[in-house]
Symmetry: C2
Subunit: 323 residues, 2 copies
């Protein structure tokens, strides 16, 4: 019988799905599995796709996936869906892709959402990408629903970041754009058959001339009408150009270093909290403290002090048991 890692590297979708569930749930053995996965990953091109709601990200992801499929490449799609941190439920619209692409065995689609209070969405997504990579998917598309900080962080871990905009969005988009300049390697003006596309393009170009990137890459602006499959080839070329550009400069960029630092810290955070709540009665204590904070009998700071007290106590006794 093959081990899970063997089945993953063999490209077995069932094994991939099981591995992703395991890391998503933070199941025991997940860390060991990922230590086997990482050395086997690194060949795929990971493309992050973000942008304002309504900009047409899903359609672009679908069409881009279809484009890669015509070239015979296997495609992994990870949709990062915002979900309530309180209910823990994922919100996934029934997308068109679910009907068309999901019948294609060369496409693996997975929706990722936060599980509970312990976070780990970012870590889970990065792990899922590595699993798909180890399983030999040539192109991995990571799509986010929102434009929040979490989503931006996740997209930035991709090799190439695509930001989708539409002409004629509101004033707040100015604010967004400023942030987008920092992350977008390729900028897509979707719904380019709409009025105002030339103005939007000029605005973007003006913003681009203002922005100075550490790596000196000049982000491309690609116009698409994704619903009609227009501009998708151009988008694929722009993505490829960015990748070639990156390959031509093998030195570690500050951005890669910052991403690695952030990944380590995310994982550290998750493991420390899970350790802290692992002790005898810690979860019950957390529930009691949460009730006290909710009813304003106690402030959160002293609640944490109380929680940390338990932890230090249990660690001390562990140490004395060992000696």
């Amino acid at each position: 019988m093959s081990t899970l890692i063997e089945r993953i590297t063999g490209g077995d979708p069932t094994a991939v799905a099981r591995a992703i569930s395991r890391v998503e749930d933070g199941a025991s053995g997940a860390a060991e599995l990922m230590k086997q996965v990482f050395p086997r990953a690194g060949k795929a091109l990971v493309i992050g796709i973000t942008g304002a709601p309504g900009a047409g990200k899903s359609t672009i992801v679908d069409k881009l996936a279809a484009h890669y499929r015509t070239k015979g490449e296997r495609v992994g799609i990870i949709a990062v869906d915002p979900s309530s941190p309180f209910s823990g439920g994922a919100i996934l619209g029934d997308r068109i892709r679910m009907q068309t692409l999901s019948l294609d065995k060369g496409v693996f689609i997975r929706s990722m959402a936060t599980r509970g209070n312990l976070g780990g969405l970012a870590r889970g997504t990065v792990d899922a990408v590595a699993i798909l990579d180890a399983a030999g998917y040539e192109k991995i598309l990571v799509e986010t629903v929102g434009v929040g900080q979490d989503e931006v962080e996740i997209v930035k871990t991709a090799d190439v970041c695509v930001v989708v905009l539409v002409p004629g969005m509101g004033d707040d988009v100015q604010t967004l754009k400023a942030g987008i300049m920092e992350i977008g390697d390729v900028l897509v003006l979707n719904k380019a058959d709409r009025e105002g596309v030339l103005r939007a393009e000029k605005e973007l170009q003006a913003l681009l001339t203002l922005a100075v990137r550490e790596d000196e890459w000049q982000p491309a602006i690609v116009k698409t009408v994704a619903t009609e499959n227009k501009g998708i080839d151009d988008l694929a070329s722009a993505i490829e150009h960015n990748r070639e550009f990156q390959r031509s400069r093998p030195e570690l960029s500050e951005r890669r270093r910052a991403i690695a630092r952030w990944r380590i810290l995310e994982l550290l955070r998750e493991q420390l909290v899970s350790e802290a709540l692992n002790g005898n009665g810690a979860v019950a204590k957390l529930d009691r403290l949460a009730n006290e904070v909710a009813s304003k009998q106690r402030d959160p700071y002293s609640a944490v002090e109380e929680l940390m007290k338990t932890e230090v106590g249990s660690q001390k006794s562990e140490v004395s048991n060992n000696t």
Copy 2:
């Protein structure tokens, strides 16, 4: 000379600004300060305002603040701005309010952004709200730029959550709407002079009839044209109605409990990580490990193992020093 907490409760804006900077930076003494602040907070009405980019949130916040000012109430405004977790820079568009409201001494405006990798935006925002509350600001408006998970979590800690929508947004908005049903106590259809407002209103009503809220509150739909100050009185009334409704049901809701739990965990996470990186040479080690992960010589999981090893080591020696 008065202490900082005395100056805060005396309503001194300089003291408020200093206290917020202190908690934002996670400066030493911040936890002690907050333990003094929390018992003095709880009188203000905290209003969270979120919604898609371009929906007009900033304008609504400005007009609502002006509305409360005409009633002689002091208003605190906290703008939660998405910023890069890598550069750490805040993105704040030069908003109109900065020119008009900032001259009014009864209005305190503050922009909050993430500082570095250690997170703490959510915790910092909640702390800033408590400080303004203790300083006697009657209304506190918390506005988010994005609609990401972080922002949604922050807005949910408010007493009343306002979600701003505009007619005629794209398909992804369906996805957003589903999430919004869960958090919105008051739904605003802004730019209600636009085409499609009636259809949008009907859609929202249909969605509302599908949603079942634990607390049985029926979210109000308010139509506004914020730029023309239309509908702002209605919005203020709807917010007031929700508050009265909440007061009529004094029992702790599951939502309040979940929020308290989340606040404790956020704080715990921050303190554990900052402790873990407090040890001798831990930051240098993190940098070295980040380089190794960035250049794919090491996977993040074994990097964290390596980091945690340091920490446990230093704790053990501390314990043995104490005995």
